[in-house]
Symmetry: C2
Subunit: 253 residues, 2 copies
């Protein structure tokens, strides 16, 4: 068994605990959480610790805390030369204290508290400073996911920015869609199959080939009618900038 | 059997032909297409016509042509007082010539040529000028879809604008995500599960509750790092305006 200790009690930590608990290859040795009761629904309370001096030996230490706490937590670890990784999409591998062997174990997904997730399809992006450590991380990652990728810190930055576009910003466009519906007594339900189909298409088509709509076909009559229809200046501005961006792509082709 | 004639040969017309061909309640009497060979893979060539004078009697005439051709086509129909509908998300019911009984039969979906679609889950938005016509349209719509809604022309405008946000603009954000990945030798595949999950979440959560990311949590360090990372001015502007829009929502709560 590969012995793993987790540090953290947030969304990512909790989803990892669930995933590792199902893995036959991995044993969770301990989980560090400032507040023990945040994890008692997932773990025996005996293995939950809130003091770094109580840390036992493990093969791998996973720091799943907020980005700005990674450096401090990694400094507080009371040992050297162990394999220590963080789970962040933005922090560099160098955020971790150099006294240990460093790595990154970044599951690229949007984790919600109240929604269970099939971890086997979640991409895990790995980075390590030497080949053996990378292979060990790969073994651990493959025990919970079928989509494991080597991604260095520079690529991970790109991936995180791209994820903001396809996840955070996309979700915000859903919200604007809902607002426009509700202001006009239209059930948002009507748009849900379209939202699913828009995402579904990307499985088989490149986004540029899936693009439809007034901007794509340079339908200026419809674009002007829509801009006139929108009364919210913020929505108007978003409509304009995204329409122009779609039209600009068309020209480059 | 309800006898239907379709006018048009584009994406919407072709998907409607496929859906009606499976319906036991509907018979396709004729389909008008300027170019007959565009439809011979779907229909017996005998029922494809390219001359309005060859139109036979039907219970319902569906005009599935581009928005700017609806008015002219409806004027050219060589009969009065029949039930005639268009399939547009933007054109008003009044775009149709008043010599016939008018209505709208708007399937809200993104239709791609090379992708078959399960019509039963596609919302169909209906409008008519009198109750009997509305009920007849409802019967036809329910024979191919389980999601039929009464939507007047004003509501339909809102719906179409909202659809541009959740479909056209969302797809464009996917494209930007892909560009950022490819510029940095990261496979876009890694982001696809996230795209699916983002859409999936909306089935059970309101978009505002599903929102995550640096803008939502006012993480100005990450936002600045992302803006510095993006070298394309257009992508920077989109990042800024959508980040501000997410932050603004937060304040209103």
């Amino acid at each position: 068994m590969i012995r793993i200790t987790l540090i953290g009690s947030g969304n990512v930590a909790q989803h990892l605990i669930k995933a590792f608990s199902k893995s036959e290859l991995v044993e969770i040795v301990q989980v560090f959480s400032r507040k023990k009761d945040k994890l008692t629904h997932l773990l025996d309370s005996e293995i939950i610790i809130n003091d770094f001096s109580a840390l036992k030996e493990a093969d791998l230490y996973i720091i799943a805390v907020s980005d700005n706490a990674i450096a401090e937590v990694s400094q507080q670890l009371p040992f050297n030369n162990q394999l220590v990784v963080h789970t962040s999409g933005t922090a560099s591998i160098e955020t971790l204290d150099i006294k240990n062997r460093r790595g990154v174990f970044y599951p690229l997904q949007t984790f919600s508290k109240n929604k269970d997730i099939d971890f086997s399809i979640i991409p895990i992006c790995l980075e390590a400073e030497n080949t053996f450590d990378f292979r060990d991380l790969e073994t651990v990652a493959k025990s919970i996911s079928n989509a494991v990728f080597p991604i260095n810190s520079e690529q991970r930055k790109a991936l995180h920015v791209a994820a903001v576009f396809v996840n955070n910003f996309t979700n915000h466009l859903y919200q604007i869609g809902q607002e426009i519906c509700e202001e006009n007594q239209v059930p948002f339900e009507i748009l849900k199959p379209l939202i699913q189909e828009t995402a579904e298409k990307i499985k088989t088509l490149d986004p540029i080939d899936a693009q439809t709509g007034p901007a794509k076909r340079n339908d200026s009559t419809t674009i002007e009618a829509h801009l006139e229809y929108l009364t919210n200046e913020n929505q108007q501005n978003i409509y304009k900038i995204l329409t122009q961006s779609i039209q600009h792509n068309g020209k480059k082709l």
